[in-house]
């Protein structure tokens, strides 16, 4: 097991959002967290990446407790976070944005070689390298963010709602990119509002409710589980009409 949340409690202000989260993330697999708003999906990622300090519990990464480490130290351990909001530097070029992902590497030659390799893998980086990142569409920016996240050859990639606000074609592009990362042997922890698409793209899934894991299992099994719909819609079965977060896939 690459990552384990062990009874993690975390939150903002006086309130707890995560109330004893237990979750396992296996290596070289895509794990998807789904759940209604306020269930603690994004909070789990923020706590893991050091943006939020846990109040109790342990976060074991490769067997070491990394709970409470600073974002820089979490990054140094090989965990990169692609946040929900746009995180590129809009006035910098696409190329400079990708290079920023490797700024902590000492060997500048290696940084450039890695960026060139990623430009081959993500054509948008090659085609728009001298354009300002702010000139790209939302989906293109997300792909560049993913390329930047891969600069440090991470052991674990955290995606926080990567398809939020994107149109169906671009959502498809993002899920395709996640599938390619999976095929390349990366470990991905994905938070997704679009439960159907997220679980379909994942090997494993967990449904969060009230800051705890309510159901966990294989992604395909969870999709067929009637409890998933109950958690979203308060009693009805799984639906494809898009309400309550069970949006149809891209």
């Amino acid at each position: 097991m690459l990552l384990r949340f062990d009874s993690v409690v975390a939150g903002y202000g006086r309130g707890d959002i995560l109330r004893g989260l237990d979750l396992d993330v296996p290596e070289q697999a895509v794990t998807c967290l789904v759940g209604p708003n306020g269930a603690g999906k994004s909070t789990a990622l923020k706590t893991l990446s050091g943006l939020l300090k846990p109040r109790a519990g342990r976060i074991l990464f490769e067997g070491d407790d990394i709970a409470g480490l600073s974002p820089a130290r979490v990054l140094a351990r090989g965990i990169v976070h692609v946040p929900q909001e746009r995180s590129l530097f809009p006035l910098m070029t696409v190329w400079d944005n990708v290079l920023m992902g490797g700024h902590s590497m000492r060997d500048r030659g290696a940084v450039r070689r890695r960026a060139e390799a990623l430009a081959e893998r993500f054509p948008i980086v090659r085609e728009r390298r001298n354009d300002r990142a702010g000139e790209l569409s939302g989906g293109q920016q997300k792909v560049v963010e993913i390329a930047r996240a891969l600069m440090l050859r991470p052991k674990l990639i955290l995606f926080d709602e990567p398809t939020m606000g994107l149109e169906p074609k671009t959502r498809h592009l993002i899920f395709e990119t996640v599938a390619r990362l999976h095929a390349d042997g990366h470990t991905v922890l994905l938070v997704e509002q679009n439960a159907r698409a997220g679980l379909a793209a994942a090997d494993h899934g967990a449904v969060l409710d009230g800051g705890r894991v309510a159901i966990a299992g294989r992604g395909a099994d969870l999709l067929a589980d009637p409890r998933l719909g109950e958690l979203y819609l308060g009693g009805s079965g799984p639906t494809a009409n898009g309400s309550g977060g069970m949006n149809s896939p891209a």
Binding site: L75, F89, P90, W95, D96, M100, H103, E135, L136
Partner: protein, 336 residues
């Protein structure tokens, strides 16, 4: 991606080759004199750009370090016999290094503020240094000023100063070019774009800003040192003059702040015009009205400066040539 391209080498070598040849071809004193001031402002604008253009922290107080550099030259003449002729020029790197290092604690405090507050803090710094120059009479001789012995050169009088200013400008351009392509440059541009995002990526923002500040201040002090030696007398009003900095900042804005060539181009457009106005209208300071007019025109017509506007124009033409859809947001299109 290669650091040095044949085109870049040709451009840099060509421009600085022509500038170096200029005082040997044109020997008229007053024209070379204008050349000295043009290079001085080009150097000041480039040094300012190294910190403010790359980080987005607008400093209005660099003139304080210009004055400190000038006083450092005068005081060195007075207390340490460094001779005359070319020898004071050799002391400039030491002056730049010392002023740059001494300014770091000041910057560490000032950089706790951002945006307009930072601009005002640096402006206050300028007036504090000016007041110190007036009041520390044992060192600066107050309003009487520091007199620097007039040197004698075998050649044209202005030429050595011209070449000294050109050397510091070349050094400033070289540092800007290197920084822009280095890890430090990437960090500075990240800070300019969004400091919190840069910090989130693990960038050591304070360290990066302090390095850029020290380099910028060191270069500014060296230029001040040459200026003090050129004018023979250093007074608080002229050595620590807000107008010097306003001029340099305006030139950087006109040419394009945050670009390599922009500040220098801005200086080459504005300084000859300013010197002509000074010669024509004497001490009326009418050129200040022209400054204000240029500032308004820049804001209206070239809000991002000459170099970025030209780059946008070229980029748009290439965009059309490749027949790609213009996906730039409307605001960007309007701005450019």
């Amino acid at each position: 991606m290669r650091w040095i391209t044949p085109g870049g080498l040709l451009r840099g070598g060509g421009v600085f080759g022509l500038l170096a040849a200029f005082p040997f071809v044109e020997r008229t004193d007053w024209i070379v004199n204008i050349g000295v001031f043009t290079l001085m402002y080009a150097g000041l604008a480039t040094a300012w750009n190294l910190f403010s253009g790359y980080t987005g922290y607008i400093s209005l107080g660099q003139a304080a370090f210009f004055g400190i550099g000038a006083y450092a030259t005068g005081i060195t003449f007075e207390h340490i016999s460094i001779g005359s002729g070319y020898r004071p020029f050799y002391a400039l790197p030491l002056i730049g290094l010392a002023v740059g290092l001494v300014s770091v604690p000041v910057a560490w405090v000032a950089l706790r503020t951002r945006a307009m507050t930072f601009a005002i803090v640096t402006l206050m710094l300028l007036f504090i240094v000016q007041q110190l120059a007036f009041n520390l009479r044992s060192i600066t001789h107050g309003s009487q000023g520091v007199a620097v012995p007039q040197p004698t050169f075998a050649s044209n009088f202005d030429r050595p100063y011209y070449l000294a200013m050109l050397s510091v400008l070349a050094l400033a351009m070289l540092i800007c070019w290197y920084v822009r392509r280095s890890k430090l440059g990437l960090m500075l541009l990240g800070i300019r774009d969004d400091e919190e995002k840069a910090r989130g990526l693990g960038v050591r923002v304070t360290g990066a800003k302090l390095i850029a500040w020290a380099l910028s201040v060191g270069l500014t002090a060296m230029i001040g040192g040459i200026w003090g030696y050129y004018l023979f007398s250093i007074y608080p009003e002229s050595a620590v003059d807000p107008l010097v900095m306003i001029g340099a900042v305006l030139m950087a804005f006109l040419g394009g702040k945050g670009t390599l060539w922009g500040p220098m181009i801005g200086a080459f457009v504005l300084v000859p015009a300013q010197q002509w106005a000074l010669t024509s209208y004497g001490a009326t300071r009418l050129y200040l009205i022209a400054y204000a007019g240029v500032f308004v025109l820049v804001l209206l017509l070239l809000p991002r400066g000459i170099v970025p506007s030209l780059a946008d124009l070229v980029s748009r033409r290439r965009f059309r040539a490749t027949d790609r859809p213009d996906v730039r947001p409307t605001v960007e299109r309007v701005a450019s």
